[in-house]
Amino acid sequence: MRLFLLFVSAAVVNNFVLSYFLGICPFVGVSKKLSSATSMGMAVTFVMTIAAAVTWLIYHLILVPFGLEILEYVSFILVIASLVQLVEMFVRKISKPLYEALGIYLPLITTNCAILGLALFSVLREYDFIESLVFGIGAGAGFTLAIVIMAGIREELDLADVPKPFRGAGITMIVAAALALTFMGFAGLISI
């Protein structure tokens, strides 16, 4: 039950994009079309889940026993960067269609702050291994949810008459504000 609550909390109540502002770059950059937004969401969820597991292992099996917590950031970012590369090679070998669906979005994920943020949050909140894993899946699902809703709105927005200075990034931010307001409605639903 606790795990389920953790999942809902990460996916909806404390949505990574709309309440922690993590992963804003892809959220703004890749939300022009619904299809690419869906692929991006899938790719991020995929990497997040694996990254949550691997960074947990690194932190608790290597850094803590040797007293090297100060190297947390350096090692996490290196692990995430190489992990993304590894996942890319692996996906290309295993499933050609999935690789083509994810396309250029896989390498872009390295610089997605949501991944590093996820790893840092799991350490900060002292999750155990299973909890980190569920947190990763939940956060990924939340990211996918946010970016897909955003892409849906932006496709419609193409037809709207937006004041000139607001075109592009400006109106995207205003729409994100409306979405964030909506998601605030979930606040207090669960407290963990």
Partner: protein, 204 residues
């Protein structure tokens, strides 16, 4: 791309407005949105980011000829992450309250695209002097945006500026401005105003 002919002063000034990392290139939006619920947090975040940007630019422009081209991104990230650790420990030691407020957003400077972007686009191709000018210009441009946005949200959201009360009793603070939606709203209007000013300038 900046050629060798541009005046050194230009390298500094371009970061302030024309190539402002936030308003023109939309880089590093995560910290911009996350920490600007008050002006002081914006300032602290801006200074920390500028410190990391400046120090890693200096190091990278010094060692740029030694790093093999294929592994440059990985090397940049290691250098950046080292300086982020320094900044994080410094904040935690001397400004524990601010460090607690900023939370995981200080370590997240590692993945701030402004920093990696400047290293890749500028410091890895230019000498130390020009890199210092470039990154301090970008850093100051970033700080200014953070303070303006943070101040704007703080005044409207809690009617204070740098902790001092500026609006009297008559003003009912708009709580929403210091909550997540306020960040998106504030930045959206900020970008629109910048676009509007640029469009007017282009016409005149």
């Amino acid at each position: 791309m900046a050629s060798k002919k541009t005046a050194p002063l230009q390298e500094f000034i371009k970061g302030l407005w024309r190539e402002n990392p936030v308003l023109a290139s939309l880089l590093g939006l995560c910290p911009v949105l996350a920490v600007t619920n008050s002006a002081i947090n914006g300032l602290a975040m801006g200074l920390a980011t500028t410190f990391v940007l400046l120090s890693s630019s200096i190091i990278i422009s010094l060692v740029r000829k030694v790093i093999p081209h294929q592994v440059r991104i990985a090397s940049f990230i290691v250098i950046i992450a080292t300086f982020v650790t320094v900044a994080d420990r410094f904040l935690a030691a001397y400004f524990p309250l601010i460090s607690k407020d900023l939370g995981p957003y200080v370590p997240l400077i590692v993945v701030n695209c402004i920093i990696l972007g400047r290293q890749e686009a500028f410091s890895s191709k230019n000498n130390v002097f020009r890199s210092i000018l470039d990154s301090s210009g970008m850093g100051i441009g970033f700080i200014v945006v953070l303070i303006i946005l943070g101040g704007f949200r703080e005044i409207l959201g809690s009617s204070t500026f740098f902790g001092m009360t500026v609006l009297g009793e008559w003003f009912d603070p708009w709580m929403v401005m210091i909550l997540p939606p306020g960040a998106f709203l504030g930045l959206g209007f900020f970008i629109a105003i910048a676009n509007w000013i640029n469009a007017r300038g282009a016409k005149a």
